[in-house]
């Protein structure tokens, strides 16, 4: 039994690692030709916070609610095991505090955690605020959902950074070594199966990573600071796990040595050795590492006292420990300072958090000749997107569509288009265009903000409409034949047609757009050779 409990900790760590690797693998493979064996939206579907809030805000029944319900049911039985075992962000924070203790443990004596803080109620406040907004029809889950934060940061910052570094490193190596055949084959293989053909880049990736780094830094201040005090997903799970079936049983404990309290990453154990089930993430540290073996996790009936079955720590073994157990931790029996208001340091931390998250996105990309109209100014949404108002409420900004987009045209929308629509996908027609034979973005959207269209439907979906700028377009402005736009137009009938006319004394083919045929894929604007302003621009049909 004792061995079994120790092993459970290893199992938990293994499950956490697996969860992170699974998610990373899924995000990495969210690209053409979607070869992953699990849906890229899987982790969002099992995220009750994102699913419930989006459903309430949008008054729809999302398919993910079913999966979320399973998670909630599991939480009623097991407590917040999702946070302790599955949540990839939680796993990352655990890993980080383990690293920290490994390094700091060399220099510093262990600090004792204070009693459970009132600060933990902040997460409920956040949750209720988000829920109130959802009732009012505004979906505000996207900035703070932990799964989204993880995926978004990974897709927008970490993946491009890793992929880009390896890619440019390989290219430098190839250049330096004169392109040997074996290295070229290796590079080609890597590009096909591991890297991207061209490294994607995303605007706002700096701001997006800041969110993530902020959470990581906070976890250095206090273990799992985010999960204890701020996480709204944790709050939802806490609400249903106030009295889970699997509960900690420390009735046999007489010494109250405080080891478990120091071990507890969630600070869920009170000075009197009772605990807060809704704060407990069932990491099982207290059960497995209790020096006296008096702490355990058992399934209890929701009523009455009788235990069903459970996990018990090394029961009463090595009684010689009992005498010395208090020593490494100092004042074991003395009760800790009771719950107090916010410490000034905590206030500072909250301020810092606010500061970090409110830094506006101002990172402008340097361009030799800046066009008057930037790519995202088109305001074009992905093909199959719901009507604008509905779209920005439904979208949880997970970044799946932008990650999967083969041309990198989808970008997080800048804040200047209004904070309500920030970071929702918008087409940057200077970076790419919408590929005609592709409907990947709709197939990876977890909330249906982008509808899953068939190829045929997508090819007829009007994203926007193209219009010529006669002041810039070569045939109109200079009387030179060009027709690059017509060449690239993917519509079988060609939405760009031309007529012959005399401009500046020359007979030229003057292109024009057939509004009924144009689907607004923007390849014409993307491929127009005129710099820096294009001879053809794509706008939303509503703006036409």
């Amino acid at each position: 039994m004792a061995v079994a409990v120790k092993h459970l900790l290893k199992v938990r760590r293994a499950v956490q690692c697996l969860s992170v690797f699974l998610l990373v693998y899924m995000i990495w493979n969210t690209r053409f030709p979607l070869s992953g064996f699990i849906n890229p939206e899987f982790y969002f579907l099992i995220d009750p916070f994102a699913m419930i809030v989006t459903s309430v805000a949008e008054r729809v029944l999302l398919s993910g609610l079913v999966y979320s319900a399973i998670v909630l049911a599991g939480t009623i039985i097991l407590g917040r095991a999702f946070c302790g075992w599955i949540c990839p962000l939680g796993a990352l924070l655990d890993f980080l505090s383990w690293l920290r203790s490994l390094i700091l443990g060399l220099f510093r004596k262990k600090e004792r955690e204070p009693a459970p803080l009132r600060l933990r109620y902040v997460k409920y406040a956040i949750l209720s605020a988000v829920f109130a907004l959802a009732v009012a029809g505004i979906q505000a889950a996207w900035p703070i959902d932990p799964i989204t934060i993880f995926v978004r940061t990974f897709s927008f910052t970490i993946h491009p950074f890793v992929s880009g570094s390896v890619d440019s490193g390989m290219v430098k190596l190839l250049e330096a070594s004169g392109y040997p055949e074996w290295l070229e084959s290796l590079y080609s293989w890597l590009r096909e199966w591991f890297l991207s053909l061209s490294t994607p880049r995303f605007t706002h990736s700096e701001t997006i990573v800041l969110f993530f780094v902020g959470i990581l830094i906070l976890s250095l201040v206090r273990r799992r600071f985010w999960c204890r005090h701020l996480c709204p997903l944790g709050a939802i799970l806490a609400l249903v796990s106030r009295r889970p079936l699997l509960r900690r049983d420390s009735d046999a404990c007489e010494t109250n040595c405080g080891v478990c309290r120091d071990l507890c990453r969630m600070n869920a154990i009170k000075p009197d050795n009772s605990y807060l089930p809704e704060e407990c993430v069932v990491c099982l540290d207290c059960a497995a590492l209790c020096p006296a073996g008096k702490s355990s996790f058992v399934f209890k009936k929701p009523w009455g006292q009788s235990n069903l079955l459970g996990v018990r720590s090394k029961a009463g073994c090595q009684s010689n420990i009992q005498g010395s157990e208090q020593q490494p931790w100092g004042q074991s029996k003395t009760a800790h300072k009771g719950e107090k208001g916010l410490h000034s340091r905590q206030q500072f931390i909250i301020m810092l958090w606010g500061l970090l998250t409110s830094i506006p996105a101002f990172a402008a990309r340097p361009e030799a000749r800046t066009p008057r109209r930037t790519g995202t100014q088109s305001g074009l949404r992905p093909p199959g997107a719901l009507p604008e108002e509905e779209f920005i409420q439904r979208c949880i900004r997970c970044g799946n569509c932008m990650k999967v987009c083969p041309t990198n045209v989808l970008q997080p929308a800048p804040l200047r288009r209004g904070p309500a629509g920030a970071w929702a996908p918008v087409m940057d027609v200077r970076l790419g265009y919408c590929e005609y034979n592709c409907n990947l973005c709709g197939s990876v959207c977890p909330t249906g903000a982008i509808r899953p269209l068939t190829l045929k439907q997508k090819q007829q979906f009007k994203i926007g409409i193209a219009i010529f700028d006669p002041n810039t377009c070569l045939p109109y402005a200079k009387g030179e034949d060009c027709l690059v736009c017509e060449e690239h137009c993917p519509v079988p009938d060609k939405a760009i047609k031309f007529r012959r006319a005399i401009v500046k004394g020359k007979i030229v083919k003057l292109p024009y757009v057939v509004a009924g045929l144009c689907i607004g894929c923007a390849i014409c604007e993307c491929r127009c050779p005129v710099e820096p302003d294009r001879g053809i621009i794509t706008i939303r049909t509503g703006d036409a």
């Binding site: 053409f32 190839l174 590009r191 041309t407 027709l483 690059v484 060449e487 079988p492 127009c528 050779p529």
Partner: protein
């Protein structure tokens, strides 16, 4: 950004010169800021590699004597027609020597499946790869700089799979391999980035598909060479006939094989409508790119010299557009 960098470097120099005013904390802060700034600057100061590297001289064509000027194969199997056409020219051994590095340049420009005739027929590419390897080629490279997204074009055109199966090394173009080509003085192209592999190979086989094209009338072998050009290719569309002749003279392909198994009659070069596709079931092969294009033009009911590039190519002496006086051999597979 520059002010920030200067500030940081000032701080670091004061530190190094031993000014007692700088604390450790300040120094560490400056160091962290410098690292951050370096990371930010990384994206903005990457120099264009093409400018830093060497230039490429025009490619020299290997002189080959063929029994006829042009071979036209008719039949029902693209692979068999290709083999017959090459046989009529005297066999692949004429063009490929043992140990050669061969580049086969098909049209993989569009994200379309083969039946739309927007990309070269994969069976023709595969047949050529096999012929080259049988003739003793050390390595056969197949690539194209695509117009649509490259991964999808390679996959959906069927060329990537077919050529790999036949034994070719199929890869996507690497940006750093586009080097400035030295076009002869007076060329319309002046200097333009071209793909090094397509210039530095022992044998270049150009395998276009015959299609309609609004700007040039038709897109054939000369136009297909735009696929090994880098840069803002749309600009080649200005004065395109002269530029295509420049490209043909620069790359000098040993062999031109035109896929006319299916031809795209309208709404080219990307197509997308089966109504515009005509199954002509012809493969044209020859050493003279202008003549091959001239013959292909007749399949569309056009006079060869109505295609601008063919006319200019003939004027420049790159080949002949006179299909009546050339020795054309028709074979059936």
């Amino acid at each position: 950004m520059m002010r920030l960098l200067k500030n940081i470097s000032d701080r670091i120099t004061t530190r190094i010169s031993g000014s007692p005013a700088t604390s450790r904390r300040e120094f560490l802060g400056a160091l962290a800021a410098a690292l951050g700034a370096a990371a930010l600057a990384r994206s903005s100061v990457s120099p264009s590699r093409a400018e830093a590297a060497q230039k490429l001289p025009p490619r020299k064509k290997r002189a080959v004597k063929t029994p006829c000027d042009l071979a036209v194969a008719r039949g029902s199997s693209p692979a068999a027609m290709t083999r017959k056409a090459i046989e009529a020219l005297g066999g692949m051994g004429q063009f490929v020597r043992p140990g050669d590095t061969v580049v086969i340049k098909p049209n993989i420009g569009w994200n379309r499946t083969p039946e739309y005739a927007a990309t070269t027929n994969p069976e023709i590419v595969a047949a050529l790869v096999k012929l080259c390897l049988a003739a003793g080629a050390k390595r056969v490279k197949v690539f194209d700089r695509t117009c649509n997204e490259a991964g999808m074009c390679y996959a959906n055109s069927g060329i990537s799979d077919a050529a790999k199966k036949a034994g070719a090394s199929v890869f996507h173009v690497i940006d750093s391999k586009f080097l400035p080509g030295m076009f002869p003085a007076g060329s319309a192209m002046k200097s333009w980035p071209v793909y090094a592999d397509a210039v530095q190979c022992d044998c270049l086989i150009n395998v276009p598909v015959a299609k309609h094209h609004s700007r040039t009338g038709l897109t054939l072998s000369m136009k297909n060479l735009m696929g090994v050009c880098g840069g803002n290719r749309g600009m080649i569309h200005i004065n395109i006939d002269e530029k295509l002749a420049d490209l043909t003279g620069f790359f000098n392909p040993e062999l031109t094989v035109i896929d006319a198994y299916r031809i795209l009659l309208a709404h080219g070069p990307s197509g997308g409508r089966l109504r515009d596709v005509k199954p002509t079931k012809i493969v044209i092969a020859g050493t003279d790119p202008v003549l091959a294009d001239a013959y292909a033009a007749t399949l569309f009911g056009m006079k060869p010299r109505d295609v601008g590039a063919v006319r200019v190519g003939e004027e420049r002496g790159l080949g002949s557009a006179d299909i009546t006086r050339s020795k054309i051999r028709t074979v059936t597979a």
